[in-house]
């Protein structure tokens, strides 16, 4: 099946990734651990843009950038430097953003996603380093705002901007690309994607080969999908009415789910880029081979290995390798039980229960998973009881072994039932005689005894049949 892309949709994404796992900002020693702190408490003369301050590049930030570039199959540039991108807006106290311009640290890469019609290569144009601006917060609603509050704690944080070619043909493919990027970045341990503002997306969209609109202010992956759906619909309607689509920047209004034109007089050349005189150039391509060698196994490679090594289905391999934490969890479980059982229990059951409760894999212990799978595969409890144990642990805590006891989940084996039947009959000769004499109710007495002996875990109907068979036999 080939995806026709009837509207000629082309989507390119610019993803800003904040390297919040660094200890310090890009050009100064201010701590990156500001998320729970008072405004303007993680700032210094450099990230406040005070006159006379001098930026110095964080070496580890450069190494993280190279790591990301290599993981995206990019070439690392021989020499690069930073530029000043001039614009006047209070989120940048200096009046310019320090960024990379004509020589991004990494370029010409690719990421493979599950597209509309099978595997699809999304080309990466470039990945460059830049500083994050400060955070603006409007007082009151945006329409009636009386002013704007500015917090520079975020100012100067290291960002990697990853720019793709317009290779995505639907909001779904865009979403898959974002999920894949997130997955790769998680594997690289360069950022914590759960922190606010860790990944921010701008989208370039066009239909029928027309001019593109850039949609800004997308704050989540789900938001990206919604913004793209709206924008594609808007452009299609515009074309249907015979109107021209102009190249413009649009603002995504998350609450209303629409994009709004942002009239701006500023154009690319108005940024007046020029080399940052306070920073010397970088020649770091020679570090790439060592960093490449130290790269962890990435999602695609891990998926391939899971398929080979554990003989699981492609769907399980994908589900288990998207998140590095889940992949590691699975391998720990698979070391102790049959890997195929482990795949079913982790990918299908545990992940489902976790998703339902909006929890991540840390909420459940490896040893508990091993215990549950062991109980089921040794035929001590039913699969349904296994699921019940997982739910109970997640909702109320406790250990699987205790829950089995508390809830009496142990399956009663056939021979135990048989033995109980035998004993019950032997101990109830009077009732047997009564039954044979036509007092049908006497049977209940004997079955009751069987249930007593098996502590209620035998199937009552089964027990009844067995007792009958024995008496009549």
């Amino acid at each position: 099946m080939v995806y026709e892309n009837p509207d000629g949709v082309r989507i390119g994404l610019e993803v800003h990734v904040q390297l919040n796992k660094l200890n310090t900002k890009l050009f100064c020693g201010c701590s990156t651990d500001y998320h729970n702190d008072e405004p303007n408490t993680h700032v210094c003369p450099v990230c406040l843009g005070l006159p006379g301050s001098l930026p110095v590049i964080n070496e580890r930030a450069v190494e993280f950038a190279i790591r990301i570039g290599l993981a995206l199959n990019c070439e690392i540039v021989e020499q690069t430097q930073f530029h000043r991108k001039n614009y006047y807006y209070p989120d940048l106290p200096k009046g310019f953003q320090t960024t990379q311009y004509d020589y991004p640290i990494a370029g010409k890469g690719k990421v493979v996603i599950e597209g509309e019609d099978g595997e699809r290569v999304i080309r990466i144009t470039r990945a460059h380093m830049e500083e994050d601006p400060g955070k603006l917060q409007h007082i009151g609603t945006i329409e009636k705002s009386k002013g704007t509050l500015i917090n520079y704690n975020r100012s100067g944080m290291t960002l990697i901007e990853i720019v793709s070619e317009p290779d995505m043909r639907s909001p779904k493919e865009a979403r898959r690309y974002l999920d894949k990027l997130r997955s790769i970045l998680d594997y690289l341990e360069v950022f914590d994607g759960d922190l606010e503002g860790a990944m921010r997306v701008d989208a370039n969209v066009s239909v029928y080969g027309g001019d593109r609109a850039e949609v800004k202010n997308i704050s989540s992956f789900k938001g990206a999908e919604r913004a793209l759906l709206y924008e594609i619909m808007r452009q299609k309607n515009q074309v249907r009415r015979g109107e021209k689509i102009v190249m413009e920047t649009r603002h995504f209004d998350e609450a209303r789910g629409v994009t709004i034109s942002m009239r701006t007089k500023e154009e690319e050349h108005d940024y007046r880029y020029f080399p940052e005189p306070d920073l010397v150039p970088l020649r770091v391509a020679d570090r790439a081979p060592a960093i490449l060698k130290a790269l962890p196994e990435l999602p695609d490679a891990k998926r391939e290995r899971f398929l080979q090594q554990y003989g699981m289905s492609g769907m399980h391999a994908r589900a288990l390798t998207t998140e590095i934490k889940v992949a590691n969890f699975y391998e720990e479980v698979a070391a102790k039980v049959d890997p195929k059982d482990a795949a079913v229990w982790v990918a299908d059951i545990l992940k489902g229960e976790l998703n339902y409760r909006d929890l991540d894999i840390d909420a459940f212990a490896v040893e508990d998973t091993v215990a549950v799978i062991g109980l089921v595969t040794e035929n001590k409890i039913t699969e349904q009881s296994g699921v019940e144990i997982i739910r109970t642990v997640l909702d109320h805590g406790g250990k699987p072994q205790d829950i089995v006891k508390e809830r009496g989940l142990l399956k009663v084996e056939d021979d135990i039932v048989a033995q109980a039947v035998e004993e019950a009959i032997n101990e109830s000769q009077e009732a047997v005689a009564d039954y044979l004499a036509g007092k049908e109710k006497s049977l209940n007495f004997i079955v009751g005894k069987v249930m007593q002996k098996t502590k209620g875990r035998a199937d009552a109907r089964e027990a009844r049949e067995k007792v009958l068979a024995k008496i009549k036999g």
Binding site: T24, C30, N40, C44, I57, Q81, I139, K265
Partner: protein, 93 residues
């Protein structure tokens, strides 16, 4: 040649108000500066690689080690416009 309109546009980019009279004066002044720099164009630089930096130094780094930041009251001491630890600006769209 820099026109009056360009002066006004550059003024707008920097959010500086420039009135009619000023834009005439600045256009003239800026043009004379540009003319002066224009003399550089007379030099043949066909085979000279561009200079991005005046010093022949590369790779000046610092380690990823946290240094103390400034106290909030010092950070805000240069502004009269503040609220709850934030800088405050007029409303921005």
């Amino acid at each position: 040649m820099i026109t009056k309109e360009e002066v006004e546009h550059v003024g707008w980019l920097a959010r500086v108000e420039i009135d009619e009279k000023e834009s005439d004066v600045y256009a003239e002044k800026l043009n004379s500066v540009l003319d002066y720099f224009g003399q550089l164009d007379e030099v043949d630089t066909k085979d000279v690689p561009p200079t991005y930096h005046v010093m022949d130094v590369v790779n000046v780094f610092r380690e990823d080690v946290v240094k103390e930041s400034m106290p909030q009251d010092i950070v805000l001491s240069n502004t009269e416009h503040k609220k709850e630890g934030n800088f405050k600006s007029p409303r921005i769209m």
